[in-house]
Protein backbone atom coordinates (compact mmCIF):
# COMPACT_ATOMS: atom_id res chain seq x y z
CA UNK A 1 0.00 0.00 0.00
CA UNK A 2 1.45 3.31 -0.97
CA UNK A 3 2.13 6.23 1.26
CA UNK A 4 -0.27 8.43 -0.63
CA UNK A 5 -3.01 5.91 -0.32
CA UNK A 6 -2.59 5.65 3.41
CA UNK A 7 -2.63 9.43 3.73
CA UNK A 8 -5.81 9.70 1.74
CA UNK A 9 -7.77 7.10 3.62
CA UNK A 10 -9.58 9.40 5.96
CA UNK A 11 -12.46 7.54 7.47
CA UNK A 12 -11.61 4.20 5.93
CA UNK A 13 -11.24 1.18 8.16
CA UNK A 14 -7.98 -0.65 7.63
CA UNK A 15 -6.52 -3.54 9.51
CA UNK A 16 -3.32 -3.55 11.51
CA UNK A 17 -1.65 -5.75 8.95
CA UNK A 18 -2.44 -3.32 6.19
CA UNK A 19 -1.12 -0.39 8.14
CA UNK A 20 2.09 -2.21 8.90
CA UNK A 21 2.97 -1.97 5.28
CA UNK A 22 2.40 1.72 5.25
CA UNK A 23 5.04 4.27 6.30
CA UNK A 24 7.04 7.34 5.72
CA UNK A 25 4.01 9.55 5.81
CA UNK A 26 4.32 11.42 8.95
CA UNK A 27 7.85 12.53 8.80
CA UNK A 28 7.22 15.90 7.27
CA UNK A 29 4.08 16.50 9.25
CA UNK A 30 5.74 15.55 12.52
CA UNK A 31 8.65 17.84 11.90
CA UNK A 32 6.22 20.63 11.19
CA UNK A 33 4.13 20.00 14.26
CA UNK A 34 7.10 19.62 16.63
CA UNK A 35 5.10 17.04 18.58
CA UNK A 36 7.78 14.39 18.75
CA UNK A 37 6.29 12.23 21.45
CA UNK A 38 3.59 9.58 21.26
CA UNK A 39 0.12 10.72 22.26
CA UNK A 40 -2.43 8.24 23.59
CA UNK A 41 -5.98 8.92 24.72
CA UNK A 42 -8.43 6.16 25.47
CA UNK A 43 -12.20 6.08 25.23
CA UNK A 44 -13.59 3.30 27.33
CA UNK A 45 -16.28 0.97 26.10
CA UNK A 46 -19.91 1.95 26.15
CA UNK A 47 -20.53 -0.46 28.98
CA UNK A 48 -17.86 1.20 31.04
CA UNK A 49 -19.30 4.62 30.31
CA UNK A 50 -22.73 3.42 31.32
CA UNK A 51 -21.34 2.58 34.72
CA UNK A 52 -19.59 5.90 35.05
CA UNK A 53 -21.99 7.09 37.72
CA UNK A 54 -20.51 4.38 39.93
CA UNK A 55 -16.95 5.50 39.45
CA UNK A 56 -15.30 7.22 42.37
CA UNK A 57 -12.05 9.10 42.49
CA UNK A 58 -9.60 8.56 45.31
CA UNK A 59 -8.60 11.75 47.13
CA UNK A 60 -5.83 12.58 49.53
CA UNK A 61 -6.34 12.90 53.27
CA UNK A 62 -6.76 16.66 53.09
CA UNK A 63 -9.80 16.34 50.85
CA UNK A 64 -11.24 13.17 52.37
CA UNK A 65 -14.70 12.99 53.90
CA UNK A 66 -14.71 12.55 57.66
CA UNK A 67 -17.38 11.57 60.17
CA UNK A 68 -16.77 12.50 63.78
CA UNK A 69 -13.12 13.14 63.02
CA UNK A 70 -12.59 9.76 61.41
CA UNK A 71 -11.86 9.06 57.78
CA UNK A 72 -14.44 7.33 55.62
CA UNK A 73 -12.61 4.47 53.93
CA UNK A 74 -13.93 2.64 50.86
CA UNK A 75 -12.82 -0.97 50.72
CA UNK A 76 -13.18 -3.37 47.84
CA UNK A 77 -13.02 -0.85 45.00
CA UNK A 78 -11.24 -1.81 41.78
CA UNK A 79 -9.23 0.71 39.77
CA UNK A 80 -10.52 1.12 36.22
CA UNK A 81 -6.93 0.69 35.02
CA UNK A 82 -3.62 -0.11 36.59
CA UNK A 83 -2.32 2.98 38.31
CA UNK A 84 -5.58 4.87 37.93
CA UNK A 85 -6.98 6.93 40.80
CA UNK A 86 -10.51 6.25 39.52
CA UNK A 87 -12.24 3.23 40.99
CA UNK A 88 -15.20 1.27 39.71
CA UNK A 89 -17.74 0.14 42.28
CA UNK A 90 -19.71 -1.85 39.71
CA UNK A 91 -23.39 -1.93 38.90
CA UNK A 92 -25.07 -1.78 41.32
CA UNK A 93 -22.33 -0.12 43.38
CA UNK A 94 -20.82 -2.48 45.93
CA UNK A 95 -18.30 -1.40 48.54
CA UNK A 96 -17.66 -1.72 52.23
CA UNK A 97 -17.26 1.53 54.09
CA UNK A 98 -15.44 1.86 57.36
CA UNK A 99 -14.30 4.64 59.65
CA UNK A 100 -10.58 4.84 60.27
CA UNK A 101 -8.70 6.89 62.83
CA UNK A 102 -5.99 7.74 60.31
CA UNK A 103 -5.75 7.87 56.55
CA UNK A 104 -2.86 5.40 56.70
CA UNK A 105 -5.09 2.78 58.29
CA UNK A 106 -7.29 2.98 55.23
CA UNK A 107 -4.65 3.27 52.51
CA UNK A 108 -2.33 0.64 53.95
CA UNK A 109 -5.12 -1.92 53.86
CA UNK A 110 -6.02 -1.34 50.23
CA UNK A 111 -8.80 1.15 50.87
CA UNK A 112 -9.29 4.57 49.30
CA UNK A 113 -10.40 7.90 50.68
CA UNK A 114 -13.24 9.72 48.98
CA UNK A 115 -14.57 13.25 48.95
CA UNK A 116 -17.70 14.42 50.72
CA UNK A 117 -19.44 14.72 47.35
CA UNK A 118 -18.57 11.15 46.46
CA UNK A 119 -19.76 9.95 49.84
CA UNK A 120 -23.07 11.74 49.40
CA UNK A 121 -23.44 10.20 45.95
CA UNK A 122 -22.76 6.71 47.27
CA UNK A 123 -25.18 7.18 50.13
CA UNK A 124 -27.85 7.99 47.59
CA UNK A 125 -27.19 4.65 45.91
CA UNK A 126 -27.48 2.54 48.99
CA UNK A 127 -23.86 2.38 50.09
CA UNK A 128 -23.78 3.46 53.73
CA UNK A 129 -21.48 3.33 56.67
CA UNK A 130 -22.40 0.51 59.05
CA UNK A 131 -24.64 1.81 61.80
CA UNK A 132 -25.69 4.98 59.97
Amino acid sequence: MSEEKIQGQTGQIITGEQVAAAPQPARRRLLKSTVAIPVIMTLHSGAALARSSNLVGAVDAGNAHQVDGKYVCVNGATPVENGSSTYDLGEPPVATLSLEDSSENCLNNGGILISSAAYTSLSGKGVFLPGL
Partner: protein, 95 residues
Protein backbone atom coordinates in the same frame (compact mmCIF):
# COMPACT_ATOMS: atom_id res chain seq x y z
CA UNK B 1 16.51 -7.33 28.37
CA UNK B 2 12.77 -7.12 27.82
CA UNK B 3 11.32 -7.07 24.36
CA UNK B 4 7.88 -5.75 23.58
CA UNK B 5 5.35 -6.81 21.01
CA UNK B 6 1.77 -6.00 20.15
CA UNK B 7 -0.87 -8.33 21.51
CA UNK B 8 -3.27 -9.28 18.71
CA UNK B 9 -2.14 -6.67 16.25
CA UNK B 10 -4.18 -8.07 13.36
CA UNK B 11 -7.37 -7.77 15.40
CA UNK B 12 -6.95 -4.03 15.90
CA UNK B 13 -9.10 -1.80 13.74
CA UNK B 14 -7.18 1.29 12.78
CA UNK B 15 -8.68 4.32 11.14
CA UNK B 16 -6.79 7.24 9.71
CA UNK B 17 -8.29 10.65 10.38
CA UNK B 18 -6.02 12.91 8.37
CA UNK B 19 -2.89 11.97 10.24
CA UNK B 20 -4.50 11.17 13.57
CA UNK B 21 -5.62 7.66 14.28
CA UNK B 22 -8.29 5.80 16.15
CA UNK B 23 -7.47 2.25 17.18
CA UNK B 24 -10.39 0.07 18.22
CA UNK B 25 -9.36 -2.80 20.45
CA UNK B 26 -12.09 -5.47 20.17
CA UNK B 27 -10.78 -7.43 23.14
CA UNK B 28 -11.42 -4.59 25.57
CA UNK B 29 -14.01 -2.62 23.67
CA UNK B 30 -11.85 0.47 24.05
CA UNK B 31 -11.01 3.01 21.39
CA UNK B 32 -7.63 4.69 21.55
CA UNK B 33 -6.72 7.98 19.92
CA UNK B 34 -3.12 8.14 18.78
CA UNK B 35 -0.93 10.58 16.97
CA UNK B 36 1.40 9.40 14.24
CA UNK B 37 4.20 8.45 16.59
CA UNK B 38 1.87 6.55 18.88
CA UNK B 39 0.64 4.54 15.92
CA UNK B 40 4.17 3.92 14.68
CA UNK B 41 5.06 2.45 18.06
CA UNK B 42 2.24 -0.05 17.64
CA UNK B 43 3.17 -0.81 14.03
CA UNK B 44 6.81 -1.39 14.85
CA UNK B 45 5.96 -3.63 17.78
CA UNK B 46 3.46 -5.43 15.57
CA UNK B 47 6.15 -6.43 13.11
CA UNK B 48 8.46 -8.15 15.58
CA UNK B 49 9.42 -7.97 19.27
CA UNK B 50 11.64 -4.97 19.92
CA UNK B 51 13.57 -3.67 22.91
CA UNK B 52 13.15 -0.15 24.20
CA UNK B 53 16.49 0.81 22.73
CA UNK B 54 15.67 -0.76 19.40
CA UNK B 55 12.32 0.96 19.28
CA UNK B 56 13.85 4.35 20.06
CA UNK B 57 16.34 3.85 17.26
CA UNK B 58 13.65 2.84 14.78
CA UNK B 59 11.49 5.82 15.71
CA UNK B 60 14.41 8.22 15.52
CA UNK B 61 15.23 6.95 12.04
CA UNK B 62 11.62 6.98 10.88
CA UNK B 63 10.92 10.51 12.08
CA UNK B 64 14.50 11.74 11.55
CA UNK B 65 14.70 12.97 15.11
CA UNK B 66 17.74 14.58 16.62
CA UNK B 67 19.30 12.82 19.62
CA UNK B 68 17.40 13.63 22.80
CA UNK B 69 18.23 12.19 26.19
CA UNK B 70 14.60 12.40 27.30
CA UNK B 71 13.25 10.49 24.32
CA UNK B 72 13.86 6.94 25.67
CA UNK B 73 12.17 7.96 28.91
CA UNK B 74 9.12 9.18 27.01
CA UNK B 75 8.97 6.01 24.95
CA UNK B 76 9.34 3.87 28.09
CA UNK B 77 6.33 5.63 29.59
CA UNK B 78 4.42 5.03 26.37
CA UNK B 79 5.23 1.32 26.52
CA UNK B 80 4.03 1.14 30.10
CA UNK B 81 0.81 2.85 29.09
CA UNK B 82 0.28 0.50 26.15
CA UNK B 83 0.98 -2.46 28.43
CA UNK B 84 -1.55 -1.25 30.99
CA UNK B 85 -4.10 -0.96 28.19
CA UNK B 86 -3.39 -4.52 27.08
CA UNK B 87 -2.18 -3.42 23.67
CA UNK B 88 1.34 -4.77 24.06
CA UNK B 89 3.02 -7.47 26.09
CA UNK B 90 6.51 -7.87 27.47
CA UNK B 91 8.40 -10.89 26.18
CA UNK B 92 11.66 -12.24 27.51
CA UNK B 93 14.60 -12.42 25.19
CA UNK B 94 15.06 -15.94 23.88
CA UNK B 95 18.38 -17.62 24.62
Amino acid sequence: MDHWQVHGFSSLRIENWDGEFTVFQPESGKTHFLNEMGLQVLIMLGQSPVTLEGLCQKLSEYFTLLPDTQFPEQIARTLQRFEALGLIVRVKESA
